[in-house]
């Protein structure tokens, strides 16, 4: 099989052509540097992405906190991870960088807050 990929490692965005069979590459061309080859290999074998989404917050000034995985996770697991997080609530205050969930996606990656959410002040 053949696939045209855009290398997303750096802004040059090389068009990398990969020929492969059974998730194994037989030929890779078009990349301007070796990183492009490594990128194409992982794209064929098991593409990984940083997942970004939101989690519901209790008692914060906003109802949601934006989050990310602390490392790339398997692309195929992204939807499942988001679905599982739908039932998660975290309590304010939240600091940017706080770990809000551990070991999602079975690969030992954590969910980290990307924004601080202060507590909502009680009305006097």
């Amino acid at each position: 099989m053949k696939r045209d990929l855009i290398c997303t490692i750096c802004p040059l965005g090389c068009k990398v052509m990969a020929t492969y069979a059974h998730k194994k590459a037989t030929a890779i061309c078009g990349n301007r540097c070796p990183k492009g080859e490594a990128y194409a290999l992982s794209e064929i074998r098991n593409p990984r992405r940083i997942l970004t989404t939101t989690i519901k917050v209790e008692g914060g000034i906003f109802p949601l906190v934006s989050v990310r995985t602390n490392r790339p996770i398997s692309r195929d697991s992204m939807r499942r991870v988001v679905k599982n997080l739908h039932n998660t609530f975290v309590k304010a205050p939240i600091e940017i960088g706080d770990r809000l969930a551990h070991g999602v996606s079975g690969s030992g990656s954590d969910i980290v807050a990307t924004r601080s959410i202060p507590k909502k002040k009680a009305k006097p």
């Binding site: 970004t52 989404t53 949601l64 934006s66 939807r79 988001v82 679905k83 990307t114 924004r115």
Partner: protein
């Protein structure tokens, strides 16, 4: 961070988004003592707070950050440098003598005389009303940015079966976001023959989730009584006109419109700043100085940037220049308007004075392959570089040295097919 009622401020920055914060920080670092940011929303960072995806900061900070994290990087510096921040405050008027009227519910009206002003109000979305779609106006039609606010900040889901019109970056990002949240994105429809957003977003937002991108098509009609029920898709000809044949109805409950962004310049016009018809923003020189002395502009208010890093970098120059101006106003006579090749739709800065080395952003009108982009000073070629491909969705930054401007009568940026030019660069 409390509001103040000062008479005089060295540098007043209007807008607390990425450009505004970078400008204020740079102004402070360049020596301005009293720097203030006016922000009409309730927090700094602006649009970055709803851009929860990553990919910010790769160019400038060499880190892969999400929007809120990128914002925090700047918010921390704003705090550390003791820059005054006026939240929930509107700038309602600016005069060419740099008198600014602000308004908020706590202080009422505030009048400020600024040594220099930096305009950083950002941009707004083109709305559905600006497109020619016929039919009813049922619920379920949103601009991509509004949908992003609802989903990422307010915890409100917009729909289950979604069609997205326009393949600008926000549309692409929202296609992925909606899919991850469990909605079915049926397709992204783009009128032009090539995608509007960055290639990496086409890959990571559409291809990753098998969302079809339908090029050279548009939506000509929407149907539904209370809620959207379907949209009609039509192929367009080379001039963008919908064809009579080749129409197709798609059942969906939501239509997102990602039709591009327009610089927000109501305020700039009040100050009498000259606007470039092509960018929709102020005409600036390499110090991001507008046509009104002491008023600078940066970020998406000048022209819509592809990535935030470039907006921040331009803003740093604007902020530092504003700081210098506030302590020692200048008047420069020499000014060259850059002339552009027919293939280029616009450039920023539009004017060069030779006051510093600079990078001029250009955007091509259509994709072109295997070209040299060069700078010609009078009749001399001063610099040219080869490019495999140039596309409208990715601006190119062309470096120009101050020396190339000095004493020149004419400066132009040209594009030439690699076959028609010998490799004479440098």
């Amino acid at each position: 961070m409390t509001a103040i009622k000062t008479e005089h401020i060295d540098v007043l920055v209007i807008g607390g988004g990425p450009a505004g914060m970078a400008a204020a920080i740079a102004a402070r670092l360049a020596g301005a003592r009293h720097v203030a940011i006016v922000e009409r929303g309730g927090y700094l960072g602006g649009i970055l707070n709803q851009c929860i995806h990553n990919g910010f900061g790769l160019e400038l900070l060499k880190k892969d950050l999400t929007g809120p994290e990128y914002a925090q990087h700047y918010i921390d510096q704003v705090k550390r440098l003791k820059i005054t921040v006026m939240l929930n405050t509107m700038a309602i008027d600016i005069t060419k003598d740099r008198e600014v009227t602000l308004s908020n519910s706590k202080d009422g009206l505030i009048r400020i005389k600024a040594g220099a002003i930096v305009l950083a109000m950002g941009c707004r979305e083109r709305t559905a009303g600006m497109l020619s779609i016929s039919g009813t106006r049922p619920a379920g039609i949103y601009t991509a940015g509004v949908a992003q606010t609802l989903i990422n900040l307010k915890n409100l889901m917009v729909g289950k079966r979604v069609v997205i019109l326009g393949s600008g970056d926000i549309g692409l990002i929202m296609a992925r976001r909606l899919t991850l949240e469990g909605a079915k994105v049926i397709s992204v429809v783009e009128k032009s023959p090539y995608p509007g957003g960055l290639l990496r977003n086409v890959t990571q937002c559409l291809e990753d989730f098998d969302i079809p991108l339908i090029l050279s098509h548009t939506i000509i009609e929407v149907e539904g009584r209370d809620r959207l029920e379907s949209v009609t898709l039509a192929r367009v000809d080379r001039h963008g006109n919908p064809l009579k044949s080749r129409r197709k109805k798609i059942k969906c409950d939501t239509l997102l419109i990602s039709a591009g962004l327009i610089p927000e310049n109501e305020l700039s016009k009040k100050a009498g700043v000259r606007i470039d018809k092509k960018t929709g923003g102020p005409i600036v020189d390499e110090e991001y100085h507008t046509s009104v002395p002491g008023i600078f502009a940066c970020g998406n208010v000048v022209s819509v940037h592809d990535i935030v890093d470039w907006a921040s970098m331009d803003a740093e120059i604007a902020g530092a220049s504003a700081s210098l101006y506030s302590s020692k106003p200048w008047h420069r006579h020499h000014a060259l308007e850059i002339e552009l090749d027919n293939e280029i739709s616009y450039c920023v800065p539009q004017i060069l004075r030779g006051s510093r080395d600079t990078e001029v952003s250009i955007r091509v009108k259509r994709p072109i392959e295997k070209v040299f982009v060069g700078v010609r000073r009078d009749t001399m070629l001063s610099r040219s570089a080869y490019h495999e491909i140039l596309i409208p969705s990715e601006a190119l930054r062309v470096p120009i040295k101050a020396g190339a401007v000095e004493g020149a009568e004419n400066l132009s940026i040209f594009i030439e097919k690699s076959s028609s030019i010998k490799r004479e660069h440098k």
